[in-house]
């Protein structure tokens, strides 16, 4: 019988106890955080579709660290640090999630697939009925990105990393992933994880901001009936086609995202039901599942424990808080301009977390006045938010590249 140490049999425990103290704390802390995310997802506090695969991935990857010999440690999930062609090809034959990571994450494909699915869910008619009001609110709700960008530099981040982190203020997960891959690939993992964590929190956290800033009597305002011009599918398609081409002409760096979003809109409006069913169901939910799982697996302690994570956590929450405040300020401006007839809560829906913030707005308004229906207005602002976030991310990427 060879001399076998008990810890040699159970490598996950062996690598845990033999790690440096900060990694021991980090691995245990991330396992517990994974459990917490799963629990909060299950309870509906956080977005379950994202948090359940992400939480389990996070807990498991930190449990499953093993020794590969020659002093190398890692997991059989994926290696985000594999960069050369040889390394990537080798890891693809070893790590089971490496193909998903290398072929869909690092080139932004997964962000585009999610955006394509979101495009099929967007009825741009809500925006086209009242374009100026919706766009005004969406511009206000980009306040978080405006404020967080210089704050990030003040807190010591280089300009590219600060700009990538600031896109969290746009509250659009695929956009954060895309912008961080283009602007700051060296820290895209923590930026994206922080971004998605906080986006998951909007459903639970934003109601507190709204209740703090909008009194109950204003939350109860009923939107006056107004003549609504019917928008035909043809008009929506023309809008999508023109916007896609013009925005791509202006910002080629974000053209893949624009195409993904607007081709989804066109598929919906053209009545291509087989594509519509594919993109809005299997494609969107498949991409969301792998997005959550891979993000969780990327949270391995030795990868994610970066001194910048604390700064990113602070900036992320500031970005989303300022965006919410900006949206509500926009709502108040329209409230005063309309002589007190506009419900200011609609402003929160301009933070483009489709359709979460629109649902938050309607839920809060219904709690104050069950007869008040603001959903069409909220969805218009919501869709405008997606478009302004894409524009702002594209502008930032272009400007930062020129400045850099």
């Amino acid at each position: 019988m060879p001399d076998i140490q008990i810890l040699d049999l159970f490598q996950g425990i062996a690598t845990l106890v033999s790690s440096e103290p900060h990694l021991i704390v980090g691995r245990i802390g991330l396992m517990l955080l994974g459990f917490l995310l799963m629990y909060l997802g299950y309870k509906g506090v956080l977005e379950a579709l994202l948090m359940i695969p992400m939480g389990l991935g996070m807990a498991t990857v930190n449990a499953g660290v093993l020794d590969f010999g020659h002093g190398r440690r890692g997991t059989l999930f994926l290696d985000p640090l594999a960069t050369t062609n040889d390394q990537v090809m080798t890891q693809m034959q070893i790590d089971w999630l490496q193909p998903i990571y290398s072929l869909t994450f690092s080139n932004g494909l997964i962000a585009c697939l999610v955006f394509l699915g979101i495009g099929t869910l967007l009825d741009v008619g809500f925006l086209m009925v009242r374009p100026f009001r919706s766009m005004f609110l969406a511009i206000c709700a980009e306040l978080g990105t405006l404020v967080t960008f210089p704050l990030g530099v003040l807190m010591g981040l280089p300009i590219n990393q600060a700009a990538a982190t600031a896109t969290i203020g746009g509250a659009d997960g695929p956009m954060v992933l895309f912008a961080s891959l283009v602007l700051a690939p060296e820290i895209f993992v923590p930026i994206t994880v922080v971004g998605y964590l906080y986006l998951g929190l909007t459903y639970g956290g934003y109601p507190y901001i709204v209740k703090a800033l909008v009194p109950a009597r204003l939350r109860a305002i009923e939107m006056p009936p107004e003549p609504v011009k019917p928008i035909s599918p043809g008009q929506k398609m023309v809008f999508a086609v023109v916007s896609c081409v013009v925005l791509s002409l202006l910002f080629p760096v974000a053209a893949p995202l624009f195409l993904s979003l607007f081709v989804g809109v066109v598929v919906r409006e053209a009545g291509l039901k087989y594509f519509y069913e594919l993109f809005s169901n299997q494609m969107l939910y498949g991409a969301t599942f792998f997005l959550g799982l891979v993000l969780g697996v990327l949270c391995e302690a030795s990868t994610i424990l970066n001194p910048k994570v604390l700064i990113l956590l602070v900036l992320g929450i500031l970005a989303l808080t300022f965006s919410a405040i900006g949206g509500l300020i926009g709502g108040y401006v329209l409230y005063f301009l309309s002589g007190g007839k506009y419900n200011p809560v609609i402003g929160i829906a301009a933070v483009s977390c489709v359709p979460t913030t629109a649902k938050v707005a309607q839920k809060l308004v219904s709690a104050s006045n069950p007869r008040s229906i603001i959903m069409p207005h909220a969805l218009g602002a919501n869709i405008s938010g997606v478009i302004t976030s894409a524009i702002f991310a594209a502008v930032l990427v272009t400007v930062v590249r020129i400045a850099g």
Partner: protein, 111 residues
């Protein structure tokens, strides 16, 4: 990219925000123009050849009881109207269905 001062970055941030706002407002303007233009085009009277006769056509495959039920429902909902045609909505094209069936059945070549 590390040498930028906070003041320069603040200016960059404000510039980017302003540019985003201008493009967003321009997009809203484009939407308004599109909606107005396409609506006006749709309202323009079109010269359509009037059919010589407009007699109700009842496809053979529809049960007369179904036709009667649809006619009654139309009468109850929108009042007295002359029903010109009753039938299934036109499909996207027979060839697409045929190709799809072949594609779906391609893994059962002997069935």
């Amino acid at each position: 990219m590390t040498g930028s001062t906070p003041t320069v970055v603040l200016a960059l941030s404000l510039f980017s925000y302003g540019l985003m706002a201008v493009i967003a407002v321009a997009t809203a303007g484009m939407i308004s123009l599109l909606v107005a233009g396409l609506s006006a085009a749709a309202r323009r009277p079109q010269t359509v050849a009037t059919p010589a006769t407009a007699t109700p056509v009842e496809p053979d495959e529809i049960d007369p009881a179904v036709v009667a039920a649809i006619s009654a429902a139309v009468q109850a909902t929108v009042g007295a109207h002359h029903i010109v045609w009753i039938g299934e909505a036109p499909s996207a094209g027979g060839w697409t269905s045929e190709v799809r069936q072949k594609h779906h059945g391609s893994h059962r070549p002997h069935s």
